[in-house]
Each structure stands twice: as structure tokens, then as C-alpha cells.
């Protein structure tokens, strides 16, 4: 029953048709919330008592690193679907999501490095959180390189999925690195279960930024996956009719 359900709703054709309808909604919602969150955080949120105005980087840094990890988790779920149920759409989504994951991880690393200059007095430290995030960035590049190195695309999809599942071990390491090791990076200020240590005047714009960036990246993912699906399925009748 699960297999039938998955195969019914995971055809590339259904995905393209549905995503085309959802794309403008996600894009408008994402960009609007992002503009609101960033304008609020950059212009209206009060100055931080310790870090001054440099803390305003948080409204890009935190959403970036959250989605750097969430995109990888999404790819791992897709990889399992591809390996267990042979869902080819899942492999297409991994290949489309990986460059977005690499881009947003790079933004997270870069924003953290620039933030480190006025805050820590250094742009880089080989501490657990930063190093494990760098490994995540290398994983994204490795996944793309591995897939690009095979001419047999079905084989490339399978091997890429296996690599994605193996790399999943890095996600809890990134998450718990600030608790397991003594690091320069501060512990998490927000948790799903334990509330937040951030003042509401800074927390609300941060939440808007996180949700806004999420919807923006989903709309980017829809665009990216559509182009990849068309490339892979270009000889299929439905693509010829659709275009």
C-alpha cells in the first residue's frame, strides 16, 4: 500500500504539474517574509548589548545554517526513497537540491566567518561546529562531483543516494557539536522544545527570516528540479507535450 501511494504521487509529471502551480505562491510568500524579517532585523531590532550591531548578521546566518542541514536531511529522505522503492523522482530531487544546499552552506560559512571578525577577532577556527559545517559543504560538492563523474545516470543516482545516506551521520554531529565539545561557537539559542533565550524583539524578525528563506529556497528548488526533470526526461512523451 505504501509503495502504491509513493509511486502514484511521485511521478515526475505529477511533480512538475503541481510544482508549477505552487511556485508563484512559495516565491511571493518567501520573498515577502524575507524582506519583512530582514528589514525588521536590520533596521528596527535593538542593538545587542554585547555584540553591538554586528549581531544583525544573525538574520541571514542562522536561517542559512538551518537550511544547510534541513536540505541535507531532505536529500537523505529522498535517497532512502530512491534506494528502497526505486523512486526516480527522489534521485532527481537530490541532484536538484544539492547545489542549493552547497550554496546556502557556503553563505552560512561565509556569514559566520565575517561575523567572527568583529566578535571573536578571527574569521576562522578549527572548532567542532565550524569544521563539521565545512564537512557538510564538502559533502554537497562531493555528491555533485560523484554524480557528474558517471555516464550511466541510473548508476550515478544509486551511488549518489548511498553517499547521501552515509553523509547523514554528519548532521547530528553538527547539531550536537556545541554540546559535546568545548567550542568557540555559542550553544543553540533556540530549541524546538526548550523555548528561546533571545529577546522577542530579535526573535520575531529571526523567525520571519527563517520561514521566508525556507519558502524562497523551496521555490528555487522547484525551478531547479523542473529544469533537471526536463533534462532527464526530455525524450518522454509527456515532456514533449508539456513544453
Amino acid at each position: 500500500m505504501i509503495t502504491a501511494f509513493i509511486h502514484k504521487f511521485s511521478s515526475p509529471k505529477s511533480f512538475v504539474n503541481l510544482s508549477e502551480k505552487l511556485y508563484p505562491f512559495f516565491l511571493i510568500l518567501g520573498v515577502s517574509m524575507l524582506i519583512l524579517g530582514w528589514a525588521w532585523g536590520l533596521l528596527f531590532a535593538p542593538q545587542d548589548a554585547v555584540q553591538g550591531n554586528s549581531y544583525r548578521i544573525i538574520f541571514l546566518h542562522v536561517p542559512s545554517v538551518i537550511f544547510a542541514q534541513l536540505i541535507y536531511f531532505f536529500m537523505a529522505v529522498c535517497a532512502l526513497m530512491h534506494l528502497v522503492w526505486r523512486v526516480k523522482l527522489a534521485a532527481y530531487l537530490i541532484k536538484s537540491a544539492a547545489p542549493i544546499g552547497a550554496m546556502i552552506t557556503f553563505i552560512g560559512l561565509l556569514s559566520g566567518s565575517i561575523w567572527g571578525i568583529p566578535t571573536w577577532g578571527t574569521w576562522w577556527q578549527w572548532d567542532a561546529r565550524i569544521t563539521s559545517t565545512l564537512i557538510l559543504f564538502i559533502m554537497y560538492l562531493g555528491i555533485l562531483t560523484l554524480h557528474g563523474s558517471f555516464s550511466n545516470l541510473e548508476k550515478a543516482d544509486r551511488l549518489m543516494s548511498i553517499l547521501v545516506v552515509i553523509g547523514l551521520v554528519n548532521i547530528p554531529i553538527i547539531k550536537k557539536s556545541v554540546d559535546w565539545w568545548s567550542t568557540l561557537h555559542q550553544p543553540a539559542s533556540i530549541s524546538v522544545s526548550g523555548g528561546s533565550s533571545i529577546d522577542p524583539s530579535m526573535l520575531y524578525p529571526l523567525l520571519f527570516s527563517v520561514i521566508g528563506l525556507g519558502f524562497t529556497l523551496i521555490s528555487l528548488g522547484i525551478l531547479s528540479s523542473r529544469s533537471y526533470i526536463f533534462t532527464r526526461e526530455k525524450n518522454k512523451k509527456w515532456v514533449l507535450e508539456h513544453v
Partner: protein, 58 residues
């Protein structure tokens, strides 16, 4: 909560000396996200063009 944290544009840009860090981060971030959208849009257009040419010739 909705009082402007700065008095004028100069203060917004300067941010007590931290403006260079803050605005460079947002400029690079926005540019990268915007560029990703442009690349994705161009790829869709290119592949659609290829498929249309193939359709027309067959």
C-alpha cells in the same frame, strides 16, 4: 519594538563601525540567491528551447 534603531542613513550604513561586516554579508547572500534563481530560470529556458527544436524537427 517598531522604533527605528538608527537616527539617519549614515548610521544605518555605518552601524557603529560594523556596517562593513553586516552589509557585505547581506550583499553577498542576496547576490548568490538571486544568481541561483537566474541560473535555474536560464536552464529551464535552454532545455525548453532544445525540446521545442527537437519537437519541430520530428
Amino acid at each position: 519594538m517598531f522604533n527605528l534603531a538608527f537616527n539617519n542613513l549614515k548610521e544605518i550604513l555605518d552601524m557603529d563601525g560594523h556596517g562593513i561586516y553586516v552589509w557585505s554579508v547581506y550583499s553577498i547572500g542576496i547576490a548568490m540567491i538571486f544568481l541561483s534563481f537566474l541560473i535555474a530560470k536560464k536552464r529551464i529556458k535552454d532545455i525548453q528551447k532544445k525540446i521545442k527544436i527537437k519537437n519541430a524537427s520530428s
